[in-house]
Protein backbone atom coordinates (compact mmCIF):
# COMPACT_ATOMS: atom_id res chain seq x y z
CA UNK A 1 0.00 0.00 0.00
CA UNK A 2 1.05 3.57 -0.56
CA UNK A 3 1.21 4.56 3.10
CA UNK A 4 2.63 8.05 3.32
CA UNK A 5 4.31 8.15 -0.05
CA UNK A 6 3.05 11.36 -1.63
CA UNK A 7 5.07 11.17 -4.84
CA UNK A 8 3.28 11.53 -8.16
CA UNK A 9 5.10 11.17 -11.44
CA UNK A 10 3.38 13.58 -13.77
CA UNK A 11 2.19 17.14 -13.52
CA UNK A 12 -1.19 15.94 -14.81
CA UNK A 13 -1.56 13.81 -11.69
CA UNK A 14 -0.21 16.61 -9.53
CA UNK A 15 -2.97 19.02 -10.53
CA UNK A 16 -5.76 16.50 -11.17
CA UNK A 17 -9.09 17.73 -9.86
CA UNK A 18 -8.54 21.43 -10.41
CA UNK A 19 -11.79 22.83 -11.75
CA UNK A 20 -13.05 26.11 -13.13
CA UNK A 21 -13.95 28.59 -10.42
CA UNK A 22 -11.70 27.08 -7.76
CA UNK A 23 -9.46 28.96 -5.35
CA UNK A 24 -5.73 28.32 -5.54
CA UNK A 25 -3.25 29.52 -2.90
CA UNK A 26 0.27 29.84 -4.22
CA UNK A 27 3.62 30.24 -2.47
CA UNK A 28 6.41 32.52 -3.66
CA UNK A 29 7.59 36.11 -3.32
CA UNK A 30 7.95 37.86 -6.65
CA UNK A 31 9.27 35.00 -8.76
CA UNK A 32 11.43 33.60 -5.95
CA UNK A 33 10.32 30.20 -4.67
CA UNK A 34 7.33 29.92 -6.99
CA UNK A 35 5.87 26.57 -8.11
CA UNK A 36 6.80 27.25 -11.74
CA UNK A 37 5.76 23.95 -13.21
CA UNK A 38 2.51 23.60 -11.31
CA UNK A 39 1.53 27.00 -12.67
CA UNK A 40 2.49 25.89 -16.19
CA UNK A 41 0.28 22.85 -15.71
CA UNK A 42 -2.65 25.08 -14.74
CA UNK A 43 -2.06 27.03 -17.93
CA UNK A 44 -2.01 23.80 -19.91
CA UNK A 45 -5.22 22.60 -18.25
CA UNK A 46 -6.89 25.86 -19.21
CA UNK A 47 -8.92 26.14 -15.99
CA UNK A 48 -10.91 29.37 -15.92
CA UNK A 49 -12.46 31.75 -13.42
CA UNK A 50 -9.78 30.98 -10.86
CA UNK A 51 -9.32 32.92 -7.67
CA UNK A 52 -5.61 33.07 -6.93
CA UNK A 53 -4.29 33.97 -3.48
CA UNK A 54 -0.62 34.82 -3.76
CA UNK A 55 1.55 37.70 -2.63
CA UNK A 56 2.34 38.61 -6.25
CA UNK A 57 1.20 37.67 -9.72
CA UNK A 58 4.54 36.69 -11.25
CA UNK A 59 5.74 38.75 -14.18
CA UNK A 60 5.03 38.78 -17.89
CA UNK A 61 5.79 35.30 -19.17
CA UNK A 62 6.70 33.65 -15.86
CA UNK A 63 4.89 32.47 -12.79
CA UNK A 64 1.26 33.34 -12.25
CA UNK A 65 1.61 36.00 -14.96
CA UNK A 66 1.21 33.29 -17.60
CA UNK A 67 -2.31 32.54 -16.38
CA UNK A 68 -3.30 36.04 -17.47
CA UNK A 69 -2.46 35.24 -21.10
CA UNK A 70 -5.57 33.11 -21.55
CA UNK A 71 -7.59 35.06 -19.00
CA UNK A 72 -7.72 32.18 -16.53
CA UNK A 73 -7.81 34.37 -13.44
CA UNK A 74 -11.01 35.98 -12.25
CA UNK A 75 -9.66 37.39 -9.03
CA UNK A 76 -6.27 37.96 -7.41
CA UNK A 77 -5.75 38.35 -3.66
CA UNK A 78 -2.29 39.89 -3.34
CA UNK A 79 -0.26 42.52 -1.55
CA UNK A 80 1.66 43.74 -4.59
CA UNK A 81 0.82 43.15 -8.21
CA UNK A 82 3.92 44.82 -9.54
CA UNK A 83 4.94 45.63 -13.02
CA UNK A 84 2.85 43.47 -15.25
CA UNK A 85 1.48 44.97 -18.45
CA UNK A 86 -1.15 42.30 -19.01
CA UNK A 87 -2.27 42.57 -15.42
CA UNK A 88 -2.82 46.30 -15.85
CA UNK A 89 -4.84 45.84 -19.03
CA UNK A 90 -7.15 43.22 -17.57
CA UNK A 91 -7.60 45.20 -14.38
CA UNK A 92 -8.49 48.40 -16.22
CA UNK A 93 -10.83 46.56 -18.58
CA UNK A 94 -12.64 45.08 -15.58
CA UNK A 95 -11.87 41.49 -16.58
CA UNK A 96 -9.76 40.99 -13.49
CA UNK A 97 -10.72 41.67 -9.91
CA UNK A 98 -8.03 42.45 -7.33
CA UNK A 99 -8.29 42.32 -3.56
CA UNK A 100 -5.25 44.08 -2.19
CA UNK A 101 -4.22 42.77 1.21
CA UNK A 102 -1.28 43.93 3.34
CA UNK A 103 1.57 41.46 3.06
CA UNK A 104 1.74 40.53 6.74
CA UNK A 105 -2.01 40.20 6.94
CA UNK A 106 -1.97 37.95 3.87
CA UNK A 107 0.72 35.72 5.39
CA UNK A 108 -1.24 35.52 8.64
CA UNK A 109 -4.51 34.83 6.80
CA UNK A 110 -2.92 31.80 5.16
CA UNK A 111 -1.40 30.57 8.40
CA UNK A 112 -4.69 31.06 10.24
CA UNK A 113 -6.58 29.27 7.47
CA UNK A 114 -4.35 26.25 7.85
CA UNK A 115 -4.43 26.39 11.64
CA UNK A 116 -8.21 26.47 12.11
CA UNK A 117 -8.26 30.10 13.21
CA UNK A 118 -11.15 31.68 11.29
CA UNK A 119 -10.23 35.29 12.10
CA UNK A 120 -7.80 37.45 14.05
CA UNK A 121 -7.34 41.06 15.00
CA UNK A 122 -4.49 43.17 13.65
CA UNK A 123 -3.58 46.84 13.80
CA UNK A 124 -2.39 46.66 10.20
CA UNK A 125 -4.67 48.73 7.99
CA UNK A 126 -6.68 50.32 10.81
CA UNK A 127 -7.86 53.73 9.67
CA UNK A 128 -7.15 52.95 6.00
CA UNK A 129 -9.34 51.82 3.10
CA UNK A 130 -8.44 48.23 3.98
CA UNK A 131 -10.49 48.56 7.17
CA UNK A 132 -13.73 49.41 5.37
CA UNK A 133 -16.54 47.11 6.41
CA UNK A 134 -14.38 45.31 8.92
CA UNK A 135 -15.00 45.01 12.64
CA UNK A 136 -12.94 47.37 14.79
CA UNK A 137 -12.15 46.55 18.38
CA UNK A 138 -9.98 48.11 21.02
CA UNK A 139 -7.49 46.14 23.08
CA UNK A 140 -5.32 47.90 25.66
CA UNK A 141 -6.19 51.30 24.25
CA UNK A 142 -5.27 50.55 20.66
CA UNK A 143 -7.62 49.86 17.77
CA UNK A 144 -7.48 46.73 15.64
CA UNK A 145 -9.45 45.36 12.71
CA UNK A 146 -10.78 41.84 12.30
CA UNK A 147 -9.31 39.90 9.39
CA UNK A 148 -10.66 36.54 8.24
CA UNK A 149 -8.45 33.65 7.28
CA UNK A 150 -8.20 32.12 3.80
CA UNK A 151 -8.07 28.57 2.52
CA UNK A 152 -7.86 27.18 -0.99
CA UNK A 153 -9.28 24.24 -2.91
CA UNK A 154 -5.68 23.78 -3.92
CA UNK A 155 -2.42 25.05 -2.51
CA UNK A 156 0.61 24.96 -4.80
CA UNK A 157 4.03 25.34 -3.23
CA UNK A 158 7.68 24.96 -4.06
CA UNK A 159 10.29 23.57 -1.67
CA UNK A 160 13.93 22.66 -2.05
CA UNK A 161 14.04 19.06 -0.84
CA UNK A 162 11.39 16.76 0.51
CA UNK A 163 11.29 13.15 1.53
CA UNK A 164 8.68 10.89 -0.06
CA UNK A 165 6.37 11.57 2.90
CA UNK A 166 6.32 15.27 2.03
CA UNK A 167 8.51 16.48 4.88
CA UNK A 168 10.14 19.48 3.26
CA UNK A 169 12.83 22.09 3.67
CA UNK A 170 13.09 25.38 1.82
CA UNK A 171 16.25 27.06 0.63
CA UNK A 172 17.09 30.60 1.75
CA UNK A 173 14.40 33.20 1.08
CA UNK A 174 12.63 30.88 -1.36
CA UNK A 175 10.75 29.87 1.78
CA UNK A 176 8.62 33.06 2.01
CA UNK A 177 4.89 32.28 1.70
CA UNK A 178 5.32 28.58 0.93
CA UNK A 179 5.06 27.16 4.47
CA UNK A 180 1.75 28.90 5.18
CA UNK A 181 0.34 28.20 1.72
CA UNK A 182 1.16 24.51 2.24
CA UNK A 183 -1.10 24.36 5.29
CA UNK A 184 -4.07 26.10 3.71
CA UNK A 185 -5.04 23.93 0.76
CA UNK A 186 -7.74 21.27 0.78
CA UNK A 187 -5.31 19.59 -1.61
CA UNK A 188 -1.71 20.72 -1.25
CA UNK A 189 0.63 20.02 -4.12
CA UNK A 190 4.34 20.51 -3.59
CA UNK A 191 7.06 20.54 -6.20
CA UNK A 192 10.70 20.24 -5.21
CA UNK A 193 14.15 20.13 -6.69
CA UNK A 194 14.99 16.83 -5.06
CA UNK A 195 13.05 14.00 -3.48
CA UNK A 196 14.90 11.96 -0.88
CA UNK A 197 14.02 8.89 1.16
CA UNK A 198 12.25 9.24 4.53
CA UNK A 199 14.84 9.44 7.28
CA UNK A 200 17.34 11.46 5.22
CA UNK A 201 16.14 14.80 6.54
CA UNK A 202 16.62 15.63 10.21
CA UNK A 203 13.18 15.65 11.94
CA UNK A 204 14.28 18.76 13.87
CA UNK A 205 14.86 20.75 10.69
CA UNK A 206 11.69 20.04 8.74
CA UNK A 207 10.06 23.32 7.68
CA UNK A 208 6.82 21.81 6.39
CA UNK A 209 5.60 18.56 7.87
CA UNK A 210 4.37 15.93 5.43
CA UNK A 211 0.95 16.02 7.09
CA UNK A 212 0.19 19.08 4.98
CA UNK A 213 1.32 17.61 1.67
CA UNK A 214 -1.03 15.55 -0.48
CA UNK A 215 1.01 15.27 -3.67
CA UNK A 216 4.72 15.67 -4.26
CA UNK A 217 6.59 15.95 -7.54
CA UNK A 218 10.19 16.53 -8.50
CA UNK A 219 10.76 19.13 -11.21
CA UNK A 220 13.35 21.30 -12.89
CA UNK A 221 13.16 25.02 -12.44
CA UNK A 222 14.14 28.06 -14.46
CA UNK A 223 14.57 30.18 -11.29
CA UNK A 224 14.79 33.42 -13.20
CA UNK A 225 16.15 36.41 -11.27
CA UNK A 226 14.00 39.55 -11.24
CA UNK A 227 16.64 42.09 -10.21
CA UNK A 228 20.16 40.79 -10.54
CA UNK A 229 22.12 43.19 -8.35
CA UNK A 230 25.82 42.61 -7.88
CA UNK A 231 28.83 44.33 -6.37
CA UNK A 232 32.36 44.34 -7.66
CA UNK A 233 34.39 41.26 -6.75
Amino acid sequence: MAGFDKVVNTYEEAMAGLENGMTVIAGGFGICGIPENLIKEIKKMGSKELTIISNNCGCDGLGLGILLEDRQIKKMVSSYVGENKMFEEQLLSGELEVELTPQGTLAEKMRAGGAGIPAFYTATGFGTDIAKGKDVREFDGRKYILEESVTGDFAIVKAWKADRFGNAIYRHTAMNFNPMAATAGKITVMEVEEIVEPGELDPMHIHTSGIYVDRLIQGTFEKRIELRTVREN
Binding site: F29, L91, M175, M180, K223
Partner: protein, 218 residues
Amino acid sequence: MSLSRDQMAIRVARELQDGYYVNLGIGIPTLVANHVPEEMEVMLQSENGLLGMGPFPTEDEVDADLINAGKQTVTTATGASIFSSAESFAMIRGGHVDLTVLGAFEVDASGNIASWMIPGKLIKGMGGAMDLVAGADNIVVMMTHADKYGKSKLLSECSLPLTGAGCIKQVLTDLAYLEIYDGKFHLVERAPGVSIEEIVEKTAGALVVPDSVPEMKF
Protein backbone atom coordinates in the same frame (compact mmCIF):
# COMPACT_ATOMS: atom_id res chain seq x y z
CA MET B 1 20.80 74.16 0.80
CA SER B 2 18.46 71.24 0.87
CA LEU B 3 20.01 67.92 1.82
CA SER B 4 21.26 65.49 -0.80
CA ARG B 5 19.90 61.96 -0.69
CA ASP B 6 23.11 60.84 0.95
CA GLN B 7 22.94 63.59 3.55
CA MET B 8 19.39 62.55 4.31
CA ALA B 9 20.62 59.00 4.82
CA ILE B 10 23.45 60.22 7.04
CA ARG B 11 21.01 62.16 9.20
CA VAL B 12 18.64 59.19 9.55
CA ALA B 13 21.59 56.95 10.39
CA ARG B 14 22.10 59.10 13.50
CA GLU B 15 18.88 57.56 14.85
CA LEU B 16 20.56 54.13 14.82
CA GLN B 17 21.87 52.52 17.96
CA ASP B 18 24.31 49.69 18.39
CA GLY B 19 22.49 46.37 18.24
CA TYR B 20 19.44 47.73 16.38
CA TYR B 21 17.35 45.51 14.12
CA VAL B 22 16.32 47.76 11.27
CA ASN B 23 13.93 47.54 8.34
CA LEU B 24 14.79 49.88 5.48
CA GLY B 25 12.08 50.49 2.91
CA ILE B 26 12.66 50.24 -0.81
CA GLY B 27 14.19 53.36 -2.45
CA ILE B 28 16.01 56.16 -0.61
CA PRO B 29 15.78 54.43 2.80
CA THR B 30 18.16 51.70 1.59
CA LEU B 31 20.92 54.36 1.45
CA VAL B 32 20.90 54.46 5.25
CA ALA B 33 22.74 51.12 5.20
CA ASN B 34 25.75 52.87 3.67
CA HIS B 35 26.06 55.24 6.61
CA VAL B 36 26.00 53.05 9.68
CA PRO B 37 28.65 54.50 12.04
CA GLU B 38 31.74 52.30 12.03
CA GLU B 39 31.73 51.53 15.73
CA MET B 40 28.14 50.34 15.53
CA GLU B 41 26.51 47.08 14.48
CA VAL B 42 23.00 46.99 13.04
CA MET B 43 21.17 44.10 11.45
CA LEU B 44 18.89 44.59 8.47
CA GLN B 45 15.54 42.85 8.26
CA SER B 46 14.02 42.12 4.88
CA GLU B 47 10.33 41.33 5.17
CA ASN B 48 10.41 38.47 2.68
CA GLY B 49 12.04 36.45 5.45
CA LEU B 50 15.63 37.43 6.16
CA LEU B 51 17.18 38.99 9.24
CA GLY B 52 20.84 39.83 8.70
CA MET B 53 20.97 41.02 5.12
CA GLY B 54 24.50 41.21 3.74
CA PRO B 55 25.86 43.22 0.81
CA PHE B 56 24.90 42.55 -2.79
CA PRO B 57 26.52 39.35 -4.07
CA THR B 58 29.49 39.14 -6.39
CA GLU B 59 28.72 37.62 -9.78
CA ASP B 60 29.78 34.25 -8.42
CA GLU B 61 27.60 34.49 -5.37
CA VAL B 62 24.35 35.40 -7.13
CA ASP B 63 21.60 33.02 -6.00
CA ALA B 64 18.02 33.16 -7.26
CA ASP B 65 16.86 31.80 -3.90
CA LEU B 66 18.33 34.68 -1.91
CA ILE B 67 16.66 38.02 -2.49
CA ASN B 68 15.49 40.99 -0.46
CA ALA B 69 12.04 42.56 -0.28
CA GLY B 70 12.99 44.75 -3.24
CA LYS B 71 13.52 41.50 -5.22
CA GLN B 72 17.25 42.25 -5.52
CA THR B 73 19.81 39.49 -5.12
CA VAL B 74 21.54 39.76 -1.75
CA THR B 75 23.75 37.78 0.61
CA THR B 76 23.40 36.82 4.25
CA ALA B 77 25.47 38.49 6.96
CA THR B 78 27.15 36.43 9.67
CA GLY B 79 24.56 35.42 12.23
CA ALA B 80 21.63 35.79 9.85
CA SER B 81 18.39 33.87 10.20
CA ILE B 82 15.85 32.97 7.53
CA PHE B 83 12.14 32.38 8.09
CA SER B 84 8.70 32.45 6.53
CA SER B 85 6.70 35.55 5.65
CA ALA B 86 4.34 34.84 8.56
CA GLU B 87 7.27 34.75 10.97
CA SER B 88 8.76 37.85 9.37
CA PHE B 89 5.61 39.85 9.89
CA ALA B 90 5.24 38.42 13.38
CA MET B 91 8.53 40.21 14.08
CA ILE B 92 7.29 43.39 12.44
CA ARG B 93 3.73 43.38 13.77
CA GLY B 94 4.92 42.31 17.21
CA GLY B 95 7.17 45.35 17.51
CA HIS B 96 10.47 43.47 17.56
CA VAL B 97 12.12 45.60 14.86
CA ASP B 98 13.85 48.57 16.51
CA LEU B 99 13.69 51.06 13.68
CA THR B 100 11.79 51.27 10.41
CA VAL B 101 12.70 53.79 7.74
CA LEU B 102 10.37 54.32 4.84
CA GLY B 103 9.41 56.77 2.15
CA ALA B 104 6.03 58.46 1.75
CA PHE B 105 3.97 60.63 -0.58
CA GLU B 106 2.42 62.54 2.30
CA VAL B 107 2.48 62.73 6.08
CA ASP B 108 0.07 64.78 8.15
CA ALA B 109 0.07 66.51 11.52
CA SER B 110 -1.94 63.62 13.05
CA GLY B 111 0.81 61.18 12.18
CA ASN B 112 -1.11 59.69 9.26
CA ILE B 113 0.94 58.46 6.32
CA ALA B 114 0.07 57.97 2.64
CA SER B 115 2.69 56.05 0.75
CA TRP B 116 1.20 53.39 -1.42
CA MET B 117 -1.40 54.63 -3.83
CA ILE B 118 -2.17 57.55 -6.07
CA PRO B 119 -5.73 57.20 -7.39
CA GLY B 120 -5.87 57.43 -11.12
CA LYS B 121 -2.51 55.77 -11.47
CA LEU B 122 -2.41 51.96 -11.56
CA ILE B 123 -2.70 50.41 -8.14
CA LYS B 124 0.30 48.23 -7.44
CA GLY B 125 -0.48 47.34 -3.87
CA MET B 126 0.78 48.18 -0.42
CA GLY B 127 3.15 45.23 -0.07
CA GLY B 128 4.37 45.21 3.50
CA ALA B 129 4.09 48.97 4.09
CA MET B 130 0.83 48.87 6.07
CA ASP B 131 2.24 46.18 8.35
CA LEU B 132 5.48 48.06 8.85
CA VAL B 133 3.81 51.32 9.86
CA ALA B 134 1.36 49.53 12.15
CA GLY B 135 4.01 47.37 13.77
CA ALA B 136 6.87 49.70 14.54
CA ASP B 137 7.02 52.10 17.46
CA ASN B 138 10.02 53.77 15.98
CA ILE B 139 9.50 54.87 12.38
CA VAL B 140 11.34 57.53 10.44
CA VAL B 141 9.72 58.75 7.26
CA MET B 142 12.27 59.94 4.74
CA MET B 143 11.02 62.09 1.88
CA THR B 144 11.35 65.44 0.17
CA HIS B 145 9.60 68.26 2.00
CA ALA B 146 7.65 69.27 -1.10
CA ASP B 147 6.89 67.59 -4.41
CA LYS B 148 8.46 68.64 -7.67
CA TYR B 149 5.79 71.32 -8.12
CA GLY B 150 6.67 72.82 -4.73
CA LYS B 151 3.53 71.47 -3.07
CA SER B 152 4.02 70.53 0.57
CA LYS B 153 4.03 66.85 1.55
CA LEU B 154 3.60 67.71 5.25
CA LEU B 155 -0.11 68.34 5.42
CA SER B 156 -2.81 69.05 7.94
CA GLU B 157 -4.62 66.04 6.51
CA CYS B 158 -3.38 63.50 3.98
CA SER B 159 -5.17 63.74 0.65
CA LEU B 160 -4.15 60.31 -0.62
CA PRO B 161 -5.38 56.93 0.66
CA LEU B 162 -3.64 56.16 3.95
CA THR B 163 -1.03 53.51 4.62
CA GLY B 164 -1.50 53.93 8.36
CA ALA B 165 -3.32 56.17 10.81
CA GLY B 166 -1.61 58.06 13.63
CA CYS B 167 1.58 56.04 13.47
CA ILE B 168 4.28 58.48 12.34
CA LYS B 169 6.25 60.43 14.93
CA GLN B 170 9.41 61.41 13.02
CA VAL B 171 9.98 62.83 9.56
CA LEU B 172 13.26 63.62 7.90
CA THR B 173 12.97 65.72 4.76
CA ASP B 174 15.55 67.39 2.56
CA LEU B 175 14.89 70.57 4.56
CA ALA B 176 14.35 69.55 8.15
CA TYR B 177 13.98 66.97 10.84
CA LEU B 178 10.57 67.12 12.48
CA GLU B 179 8.67 65.33 15.18
CA ILE B 180 4.90 64.87 15.25
CA TYR B 181 2.87 65.05 18.45
CA ASP B 182 -0.18 66.81 19.84
CA GLY B 183 -1.55 67.05 16.30
CA LYS B 184 1.30 69.26 15.08
CA PHE B 185 4.63 69.09 13.34
CA HIS B 186 7.49 70.24 15.58
CA LEU B 187 10.62 71.54 13.89
CA VAL B 188 13.67 69.97 15.53
CA GLU B 189 16.57 70.59 13.14
CA ARG B 190 17.01 72.27 9.79
CA ALA B 191 19.28 71.52 6.88
CA PRO B 192 22.43 73.66 6.76
CA GLY B 193 21.62 77.04 5.25
CA VAL B 194 17.89 76.42 4.99
CA SER B 195 15.86 79.23 6.51
CA ILE B 196 13.04 78.71 8.93
CA GLU B 197 10.91 80.81 6.58
CA GLU B 198 11.40 78.28 3.77
CA ILE B 199 10.42 75.42 6.04
CA VAL B 200 7.37 77.28 7.33
CA GLU B 201 6.35 78.12 3.79
CA LYS B 202 6.68 74.54 2.59
CA THR B 203 4.88 72.95 5.55
CA ALA B 204 1.13 72.96 4.99
CA GLY B 205 0.24 71.28 8.30
CA ALA B 206 0.37 73.03 11.68
CA LEU B 207 4.01 73.61 12.54
CA VAL B 208 5.54 74.52 15.87
CA VAL B 209 8.85 76.39 15.54
CA PRO B 210 10.84 76.61 18.77
CA ASP B 211 13.03 79.60 19.57
CA SER B 212 16.14 77.78 18.58
CA VAL B 213 16.34 75.39 15.63
CA PRO B 214 19.86 74.03 15.26
CA GLU B 215 21.33 73.35 11.85
CA MET B 216 22.34 69.79 11.08
CA LYS B 217 26.06 69.24 10.87
CA PHE B 218 27.73 66.95 8.36
